[in-house]
């Protein structure tokens, strides 16, 4: 089955490992991620702070392209891109005037009927159909993941249908259960890591990350599992810094959900590019005899 795929800028740059993993694991369950043609940057959270119209126009063009390419569903692994695109689709539906205005300049006009899915939504369909379970060859026993959703997976600045529980989402836990890992209950699963504040307001961002790290450690987690490349990069690359400052001796690898699925399918660490993490991701897997 072909499904439209929007990687977004980071999956073509600093988080290209997430792109590789996503394509690989979906392929395994018979889903072919087809990258939409000539997509553009979604504007992330920055566009809305600079110009309202732009914040709508940028993701709108991508929706038009995906629809013109003939897809009925598009999957967007990056949480920020997913959130922006989903919100814009709803805004255009609610405001036909705005939609017409944008359509005048677009080579590929927006209809607005395509389904915009997060990576979890697509993974969960493979859980429901039993296809994922069939592909699991290596149970992830001994992993004690703190599933970390961050902001963009369940909270939106506009009324859109949210596919999971807003305050206590269970999507990743459900997937991990099929893979043989029992996730932990913890308090900070939907808290903010600071996102771009890590670069422009480091003090605020480091405080946020510290709280997340402390709670995960206190609960006895041995890793984080995430869907958002921004959360991954922040919690991974700043972990040493915050742990040194707050005398936390533990270090928790920050895995993408696609890495968990890939490992359970027997895909190697190298092929999944887990060796591109800041906090070593292989040691724990060896300790637990997963690899």
């Amino acid at each position: 089955m072909d499904i439209g795929y929007y990687p977004g800028c980071t999956l073509h740059a600093s988080s290209s490992l997430y792109d590789v993993q996503s394509r690989r694991i979906f392929n395994e369950v018979g889903i072919n991620l087809k990258e939409i043609e000539d997509w553009n940057c979604c504007g992330a959270t920055s566009a809305g702070k600079v110009d309202d119209f732009l914040a709508v126009a940028m993701p709108a063009r991508n929706i038009g392209i995906a629809e013109a390419d003939g897809f009925s569903e598009i999957v967007i692994p990056c949480s920020a891109c997913y959130s922006r695109t989903l919100v814009v689709q709803k805004r255009l539906e609610d405001d036909p005037l705005l939609k017409n205005q944008i359509n005048t300049e677009l080579a590929k006009k927006i209809q607005g009927t395509i389904k915009v899915s997060s990576i979890l939504e697509v993974l969960l369909t493979t859980v429901a159909s039993g296809e994922l379970a069939e592909k699991v060859s290596q149970k992830l026993k001994g992993l004690k993941p703190a599933c970390y959703y961050g902001c963009m997976q369940t909270r939106f600045p506009y009324k859109v249908p949210v596919p999971d529980d807003v305050e206590n989402p269970q999507g990743m836990e459900t997937v991990l259960k099929v893979l043989g890992a029992q996730s932990l209950d913890w308090n900070y699963k939907t808290d903010c890591c600071g996102a771009s504040a890590a670069v422009n307001d480091e003090e605020a961002a480091l405080n946020l990350m510290t709280r997340i790290m402390k709670d995960a450690v206190a609960r006895g987690a041995n890793c984080f599992v995430v869907t958002c490349p921004m959360c991954q990069l922040n919690m991974d690359s700043y972990q040493d810094k915050i742990c040194q400052k707050h005398e936390i001796k533990e270090r928790l690898p920050v895995y993408f959900i696609t890495e968990m699925v890939g490992l359970a399918m027997g895909v190697s660490v190298e092929e999944l590019q887990i060796d591109r993490h800041f906090v070593d991701g292989s040691e724990l897997l060896k300790e637990l005899n997963i690899i």
Partner: protein
């Protein structure tokens, strides 16, 4: 010393709240100060006194000066926690976004210049090529910050900033997380045209 209550002048208060409500599309007048937003705001430690409910109050009272320049406007991380929990569906992140734009139009110096630069540079880079090139973006962003510090002769700040970013850069490069390639979208002209055409009339 007791502080006198703020005087309320409907003449000045009205235009302010009206403008913010129109542009943010949030019904500020529905706020009944329950402070559920304040309880969940993760940057409360940084913003101190200014919580979403207080910001809304300032706007309703027409306290333009403080509403346009406070810690919450510049340190809100757009986590949408306040808006998700607000019993009246008020998304303060959309209010802080709106205020940033109003402050820029009024040529006010942002309280956190780095935050303002970040978003401006990000969007410029994104529309220049249609896709964001992380290296180009970070270079422009650092350049802007450094120039600002240079003007104020803050050499120590420049040194610290460059050192910390160089260290991060090296660590990124070692893990092949630094992307040296270039990406663009051929149809980026469509977005640029839209932006130009509507820039004058959009809010």
């Amino acid at each position: 010393m007791t502080e006198s209550a703020r005087e309320f002048d409907p003449e000045t208060a009205h235009p302010m709240v009206k403008e913010v409500m129109e542009r943010s599309q949030q019904n500020l007048l529905a706020c009944y100060q329950c402070r559920r937003c304040a309880a969940g705001c993760p940057v409360g430690e940084e913003t101190g006194y200014i919580t979403p409910d207080r910001l809304i109050r300032m706007i309703i009272l027409g306290d333009r000066e403080n509403a346009l320049n406070n810690q919450l406007v510049w340190r809100c991380v757009s986590c949408y926690t306040c808006g998700t929990r607000c019993p009246n569906d008020i998304q303060t992140a959309r209010i802080t976004d709106t205020i940033k734009k109003i402050a820029k139009e009024a040529h006010l110096d942002p309280l956190k210049p780095k935050v303002a630069h970040f978003h401006d540079t990000f969007v410029n880079s994104g529309i220049r090529w249609g896709r964001l090139n992380e290296m180009e973006f970070m270079s422009f962003f650092e350049l802007k910050n450094t120039l600002k510090d240079l003007k104020r002769m803050k050499f120590k700040a420049i040194y610290d900033e460059l050192m910390s970013k160089t260290k991060l850069g090296l660590r990124m490069a070692r893990r092949k997380r630094m992307h040296m390639g270039f990406q663009s979208a051929k149809g980026r002209g469509e977005i640029k045209r839209l932006y130009k055409k509507t820039k004058k009339k959009t809010v």
